[in-house]
Symmetry: C2
Subunit: 233 residues, 2 copies
Amino acid sequence: MRSRRPTTFQIAVDLVILTVRDARLAVLLIERGNDPYRGQLALPGGFLRDGEDLPDAAERELREETGLHGLSPHLEQVGSYATPGRDPRGAIASVAYLAILPDLPVPVAGTDAAAAGWYAIDTRPLAFDHDRILRDAVERARTRLENTPLAAAFCREPFTIGDLRAVYEAVWGVPLDPRNFHRKVTGLSGFVTSTGETRHPPTGRPANLYRRGPAATLYPPLQRPNAASPPTV
Amino acid sequence: MRSRRPTTFQIAVDLVILTVRDARLAVLLIERGNDPYRGQLALPGGFLRDGEDLPDAAERELREETGLHGLSPHLEQVGSYATPGRDPRGAIASVAYLAILPDLPVPVAGTDAAAAGWYAIDTRPLAFDHDRILRDAVERARTRLENTPLAAAFCREPFTIGDLRAVYEAVWGVPLDPRNFHRKVTGLSGFVTSTGETRHPPTGRPANLYRRGPAATLYPPLQRPNAASPPTV
DNA sequence: ACAAAAGTGTTAGACGTACACCCATGC
DNA sequence: GCATGGGTGTACGTCTAACACTTTTGT
């Protein structure tokens, strides 16, 4: 029965928007146009509005930031951050969302952003505590690739097994055997479904095309090599 | 550049405190002593205080709710919930934390709680949107057992391999082969470390005793049977 | 002796990895 | 033909699941 009125917060929804560009994992960052941290790079985001739910706010910010509409990319909550002093403006908690997009035409600049663009995921430093948020989100993405068909969300449909493999290699940062990868993915039920079509690479045999399958989880999971300890045996 | 002042929230930190009692997964619930939802079961929790970080608030609530001190149980953030109308008192967002404890003496009643006790994890309905929060946290715990040594946090030290197996069976709800489980766990490096001691069960051969090992993740993971799809082959 | 729980050995099959090999195309 | 990327076959080592069996206690 506390009589003291608890502290109130503004709630920001910040987005870690990832894509794969040029075989590298990339994140959408904005250059801040306002104080605090004016001119520094930061994750795109905005305040939760009155009567709005968190996933709705994340989706709205995503649309505002990227200009895409009608699309329904992967969007999942990563965590919340409320360390005192994390925002010089005062008591502002941040809820971080992870968004996965295929490599798309350039994003637009938001209202609060002087510029927006794709950056390497080890770009530092970022404004606020966004270094940490970005690190947490990337780690989440890496583990999600093991257990869920999330990798397909990085690919524009239809895609080839090679496209999918490129995603795994970019996100995990390790090379994978094309032959074994192909077998594993096509063998997992529900990961990808074949369209009858093929796509012709600049040179080489045409590749079969696929769309995302109905599965929500991968069983058995795709094990990331050297996940914990290198096989020191 | 929005001139309208964004909505402000109070932030509640709610705890999903799990333990294993009588070979069943159990959750600590309180009976609410105040409106709203007076008399209904709810997750323990409280408001984030001025100058307090989220993990600190979770730890403080845990101590207040269970009366334990000096202990450092597993505590991890599960997610945040801010659906409009989720709390009749107004704009209150909730950050949920998952706590894992060994089976302990009865918890104490908190300030806001008429009574606190252990309940089956399928106890319904709970106040607010706590049904959903509980479901999310239990699912998190289940997957954590696969990849981390979290199961040991359910055991008072020192523990036997049989104790540990009982945790897996309770949380996953499936029987495991004692022989293979023993080999797997003792074979994984860093999961458990042997004390030289033994414990005598009511009847049967004495069991070797162990403490939690240094590993933070399990590699390879312990696969939960029938994780995604039953072997419909 | 018997029951009960702990722990070891063994085996058959499933799975992962490595890599040889074939396929289909553009140049 | 040759380079290139796609895809299949195969062999070998490792891991898993199933279960027979031994060990060590209390009664």
